[in-house]
């Protein structure tokens, strides 16, 4: 069984939303500690539950909009993970925290003890068919390094 799971999330057709995919590619070229499983998802939320396989540690990589300067890499632990707005109206609106809380209640044997989010502050999320903005592109290596640090 893998000791750690890294899930990168994003849609590389949509500008800075593609940063998860870019970090996934970067991690794919890096040497990951033994027992690490690397996955990619187009959308997080409940899909995240399917990926859990009893790993001790989960690192989620995703684009964020927390209001910092574009390209800022946030590393948040469980306490720092944001809550989603109370009620999503579509499958697009379910967060990591909510998914893991559901997992811990329903599938405790598969749910991770340690959860981190590596969030890359994006600037542009409404342009289809565009690549990453320069600030976010530059942040990819920083995010890859942050994930490797969390994996120890």
């Amino acid at each position: 069984m893998a000791r750690a799971l890294v899930v990168c999330i994003g849609n590389d057709l949509v500008a800075d939303d593609g940063v998860g995919k870019a970090v996934h590619a970067g991690l794919g070229k890096s040497r990951l500690p033994e027992g690490t499983r690397l996955e990619y998802l187009g959308l997080g939320g409940i899909d995240l539950l399917e990926e859990l396989d009893g790993e001790e540690r989960l690192v989620v990589v995703d684009a964020v909009q927390f209001g910092s300067a574009p390209g800022t890499v946030h590393v948040l632990d469980w306490v720092g993970l944001p809550y989603m707005e109370p009620r999503p109206v579509s499958g697009h609106g379910i967060g990591i925290r909510e998914a893991i809380e559901v997992g811990r209640r329903l599938y405790p044997e598969r749910s991770p003890q340690h959860v981190h989010l590596v969030g890359i502050e994006g600037r542009c999320f409404d342009q289809l068919g565009q690549g990453l903005t320069a600030e976010v592109e530059a942040a990819v290596v920083v995010a890859v390094a942050a994930v490797l640090r969390l994996l120890g």
Partner: protein, 472 residues
């Protein structure tokens, strides 16, 4: 003087979608707008691509309904190439699709709408989510999520990948069933049929309880419109068939093949939103219509599978034809969920599934149009492909575009009838509830994580006179 109330609750991306209410002096909502982003950017980037890549590329538009885009693109390519896929290919595509529908409807019913059913409209917003629902109804939620997972596994086995399927191609599907997969899929579909049947009673009990407690939902959320959905021999079919449309009285007004959609549907740019609205053009008039689960069950004469048919008869008996009530979409979704499970089980046991799955397909230059019933409603892909197999133009009509006019009407009704003096929270809950009944697709794709509060702005003469923010 008119006042405008603006609500930005329904997405995690600023400006992605919002609700705008324009009120008169007395506070009565005169007009409501659900504003969504458009998909035009996507259609633009398809131009110049190799047509054969369309099923893979369009599947990536949306993380919520990738299989619908994947399959409708493959069907449009069949038509552009002028080929008919082998029987086994069509059955396997439909089987993959049933997996997707099970997954999507279970998510929608148990994760998104579930908390409305369990907590009603007056509960505290902070606990009214999937986490609260797991606490209140752990067994129901676990079964619902299991059903969703079964659908995803079916979709993944046939589609080759879980998130974005890759196997459907022009001329068929690049997949053949082996014995191990066959046995496994038989088990999965059998479990799905049992689970959906077990869950049906509970979901109905919760829904009817909600309606009993809130009679206003049945009385006031009726937004008469025309309806459109796919029928095959008069019965519901989600993968293929003709489009049937019905007027608000319940009279069937016509049926057409999606390659002639331009003769029946008109797209209109509208104020307040980037998305184009779509109307049925019939006998010289443009008619507002709805697509999706409720629309489909309004237009069909019956269901192909026995458990779904039994439930459908109850639905008809209780809510009539057509049923205009947005809340009853949940019931319609349950019936389709039962159907998809039964249909999947029937398909895996069909011996014709084992035949050839592909014929050669080349593009000689021309147009390819096809449609599918996406979980949220009719999805049309229309491509112009040149003799070199390059996409020259693309047009897509998605469910939410077709439903926007009806969503606006339901929001207006909901805002005027569900708001109560002194309680912004209840009105906000009610408006979100209305939007969730339609389970709209928010221009697909983007999903960054952000702390987006519920924001309501009331404007008077262009100035903000009141700002209500829902805190975390």
């Amino acid at each position: 003087m008119a006042k405008t109330i603006k609500i930005d609750p329904v997405t995690r991306i600023e400006g992605h979608a919002r609700i705008l209410l324009e009120c008169d002096d007395a506070g009565k909502v005169e007009e409501a707008f659900f504003c969504v982003n458009e998909l035009r950017g996507f259609e633009r980037i398809l131009v110049g691509m190799e047509a054969s890549t369309l099923p893979q590329v369009t599947a990536r538009i949306c993380g919520v309904c990738p299989t619908a885009h994947h399959l409708v693109a493959a069907k449009a390519l069949d038509n552009a190439a002028g080929v008919e896929p082998p029987v086994a290919a069509k059955l396997l595509r439909e089987f993959m699709y049933m997996g997707h529908v099970i997954h999507s409807h279970a998510l929608s019913l148990f994760v998104l709408a579930g908390p409305d059913l369990v907590f009603g409209l007056d509960g505290a917003a902070a606990t009214q989510n999937i986490v609260g629902m797991v606490e209140a109804e752990p067994a129901l939620t676990k079964k619902g999520l299991r059903l969703r997972s079964l659908g995803q596994k079916i979709n993944e086995t046939i589609g080759g990948r879980g998130i974005h399927p890759v196997t459907a191609v022009a001329g068929g599907i690049s997949f053949k069933l082996n014995d191990g997969q066959f046995t496994r899929l038989q088990e999965l579909t059998a479990e799905a049929v049992i689970l959906s049947n077990e869950l049906a009673g509970k979901v109905k009990g919760l829904l009817f309880g909600l309606l009993d407690k809130n009679p206003v939902l049945l009385e006031k959320l009726n937004a008469p419109s025309w309806y459109m959905g796919t029928v095959n021999g008069g019965k519901l079919n989600l993968y293929d068939g003709d489009l049937r449309f019905m007027d608000e009285q319940g009279t069937i007004q016509g049926e057409f093949s999606s390659d002639s959609y331009r003769d029946y549907l008109v797209e209109r740019a509208v104020a307040k939103s980037y998305a184009k609205e779509v109307y049925i053009n019939h006998a010289g008039a443009e008619r507002m219509y709805r697509v999706g689960t409720l629309a489909r069950l309004n237009v069909v004469d019956g269901m192909e599978t026995p458990l779904a048919q039994a439930e459908f008869e109850l639905f008809r008996k209780n809510f009539g034809r057509p049923c205009h009530n947005a809340v009853i979409q949940m019931y319609a979704k349950l019936i389709e969920l039962i159907y998809a499970c039964e249909k999947a089980h029937e398909l895996i046991n069909n011996p014709a599934l084992r035949g050839d799955t592909r014929v050669p397909a080349t593009f000689k230059g021309g147009r390819g149009v096809a449609h599918i019933e996406a979980p949220r409603g009719t999805l049309i892909h229309d491509y112009e492909i040149d003799a070199k197999g390059i996409v020259r133009s693309a047009n897509m009509i998605i469910a939410t575009q077709q439903n926007t006019a009806a969503i606006n009407k339901s929001l207006k009704e909901g805002a005027n009838n569900l708001k109560r003096e002194g309680s912004d929270e209840i009105m906000l809950n009610a408006l979100e509830f209305v939007v969730r009944c339609y389970d709209p697709c928010l221009a697909c794709s983007t999903h960054a994580i952000g702390r987006m509060a519920l924001d309501v702005e009331m404007q008077h003469n262009g100035k903000t006179i009141r700002h209500i923010r829902r805190s975390f």
